[in-house]
Symmetry: C3
Subunit: 349 residues, 3 copies
Amino acid sequence: MTKAKPGNFFEDFRIGQIIRHATPRTVTTGDVALYTALYGGRWAVQSSDAFALSIGYPRAPVDDFLVFHIVFGKTVPDISLNAVANLGYAGWRFLAPVYPGDTLTATSEVIGLKENSSRKTGVVYVRSSGLKQDGTRVLEYVRWVMVRKRDEAAPAPGDHVPRLPQMLEPRLLGDACPPLEIASYDFDLAGSAHRFDDYEVGEKIDHVDGMTVEEAEHQLATRLYQNTARVHFNQFTEGKGRFGRRLVYGGHVISIARALSFNGLANAFHVAAINGGRHVAPLFAGDTVFAWSEVTDKAELPNRSDLGALRLRTIATRDQPCGDFPLKAGDEDDPAVILDLDYWVLLPR
Amino acid sequence: MTKAKPGNFFEDFRIGQIIRHATPRTVTTGDVALYTALYGGRWAVQSSDAFALSIGYPRAPVDDFLVFHIVFGKTVPDISLNAVANLGYAGWRFLAPVYPGDTLTATSEVIGLKENSSRKTGVVYVRSSGLKQDGTRVLEYVRWVMVRKRDEAAPAPGDHVPRLPQMLEPRLLGDACPPLEIASYDFDLAGSAHRFDDYEVGEKIDHVDGMTVEEAEHQLATRLYQNTARVHFNQFTEGKGRFGRRLVYGGHVISIARALSFNGLANAFHVAAINGGRHVAPLFAGDTVFAWSEVTDKAELPNRSDLGALRLRTIATRDQPCGDFPLKAGDEDDPAVILDLDYWVLLPR
Amino acid sequence: MTKAKPGNFFEDFRIGQIIRHATPRTVTTGDVALYTALYGGRWAVQSSDAFALSIGYPRAPVDDFLVFHIVFGKTVPDISLNAVANLGYAGWRFLAPVYPGDTLTATSEVIGLKENSSRKTGVVYVRSSGLKQDGTRVLEYVRWVMVRKRDEAAPAPGDHVPRLPQMLEPRLLGDACPPLEIASYDFDLAGSAHRFDDYEVGEKIDHVDGMTVEEAEHQLATRLYQNTARVHFNQFTEGKGRFGRRLVYGGHVISIARALSFNGLANAFHVAAINGGRHVAPLFAGDTVFAWSEVTDKAELPNRSDLGALRLRTIATRDQPCGDFPLKAGDEDDPAVILDLDYWVLLPR
């Protein structure tokens, strides 16, 4: 039998199964530089050791989504190599800061399995964790994916749909952020005077700028994350497929939207949690991504006077500026919308 | 009012105004690796810690133009987001070496304002400085840009054109270079035996090689510098614009020309100053850049026997090899010329 | 005379000549991050400091082929700038591990010269070495290239064809790998349970995945290696040449094939030696690379119970999946084959 791995099929999973994913990864300033080159993020805390030190970090922490992409990439060979679709996320929470030099690993627990009525596929629910070399959990999230069966006749390996949180409670949001000396936070250097109190629920922000994606860029990004999903890299095969093209990794879209959102959210330097998200439509090289955000909620954090939390809904589009906040076309999604992300950010009070 | 920043318009500036630009940036060996991948520079001093140590540096310094691009990028959101054209540079001088781990910030002082006769635009003159975390100035330069007015009817915010130096004096050139032990400088490793004394005023050098630019490359570069000028990234908008294409950042052209110039100037490891420069024509992805240089002057540095200065004029072209030193076509610029840069380099005596 | 270097021609070489190549290079975690982004390698030893430490390395070593490409790149301006063809490799051996912070230099000795009957070209054989800052040799190999003569009438500078090894003996394979504590090697994290004993001579492995190459990617890679061979970068000139396109650096193909081979060879973390190799056909941007391998031999290493050696033949193709192990079409090479590499890897026993 060949030693090349075919990935797991629906009937290979079991409720309660723990998977230790391969390829531990030391995150370095090299990764940070590449992440900057790929997205152009400008949050002062992640960009500057001196700025981070001045407010209480030991040095600049690694961008939250870079941490996420690296952890997520490790889960792909075991969880989603035979996926038909990535259906959703819940309870996505950052638990500890990551610094250059830290080594990340990932584990997943299968928490739900539900065969589809066609018996050709089933939905797999996993709770995945990212861990540091010393065992500290830095990230956890639930995702569910539709996975093919190897053999349609195989019995379903389980039948349980877990209850998942619609939203992360504010008390769960501050763990990846040390207590900060906001008196030392330099709002000029950060790029905006707007603090927690300046944002209102219902406020909408057009992030104005657009970013065109090239094949080389999303391929470099997705390999940097050691994500092996085949649809992103192989034009020979994808050229014969449904879209005729390579698909851009959904996480690449999230990072672009996040980087664009600096323009209007310059002090929202930390993504504390993702409540849920939907890749509404695929993105392809040559498309230009735009984004807008709405503040959907605000919350104080228990026992913290340094930071407050904004709940944001960020919408990304392709080839559609966001000055009029595109979202729906009648009862349907606006055809330009590609991402709908519901998450919490922290910013100085 | 939206929190996304529209950038400053001509009438927003005042003579004497000091602007502290956003986004402090720690420069790392990750940035250095990317810079090598983008341009392929081969100067031994910047490429090798061991070589740099052997001649008196504490480690390899960061390439001068990488420092410039990072500082320049910070000024864009405040100075040139609404620019029609980048008109010129003067008095561009490197003042202290930068090493991986240093954090850079930027400030600008408005030193001149001149409304154009159309009253639709005006010229803004700024003196910008790059600073390290300890306050050391590492770079200063003057640039002037033509900036749109928000409101044509608004009064001109000032009327003063500053006097600018045509050339930096040789006594101003050595500050960013520690005293060197040239006896330990290994000319084999550096790639050429040619020292200061081997170059003559009037000498022309064809740098021979050509480099084709890809969209992904200039976008990665420009984001690495956290430069947010929209014309470089947004095909959706630029596709409808004057050129129908994204413009390559002018600094990308400078770095390509500098890297090509290694072939003929292998010991000219440090750019000490730029007297002036002109982006003669735009560059687009798919074009191939060539370059040639003329030695226009030579100078000894006061109190330094280690290094001498060459004043160079480097011309970059697109899709035109430089064996016959293209420059003029009658009274006009040769249509292949895209860059005309006047600067000082230092090399061993 | 111009100071731009034209490179050496056949009549410039002498048997016994020693060439110290230019541009020493400090390898950093920035280079490692870029190498990951370019190829997506997943070997745990090179990816994780913590994993490498656990088995006896001081930290994660730099990928063997990254070391090779950097050393090889230095030889190009002196050896192969005027090459018509890169004819072969032999005796390619890694001698010491390289870690971030090490500085690499390269030297070559001319060990053979043979003029071709046309008198327009000749074959140059060089033994090249990569060295660390402390003089440790990290790599040596022989390559031979067909180089143009400047002047057809010039006498041949020598006439000697060296004897070259067909294969490196197993006793020569372990030098670049410290003694390892295999009891601490975590096969889950490494991504496979297959050890030395699990592979059989004659076993073929389809590595399944395909990777499409973009112009920006191979240009970034080749510049990262400071390799100046003109055919990779200059569309203006190559567009008028034999292929009408830029050629992808052959080493880029090797690194892609190596990265693809993780799927089936996840524990073969160290390339100890290359017996020989052939770039069967050129690769161009837009092509998709696939690969398969055959285990052609197995060997124990003298005095080492930690690791064993597999001799592999890895075949890379373009636009041709490798499920049926393409190699020959009658007596000819299969037209899809682009690389045929014969090498030794080490993996845990």
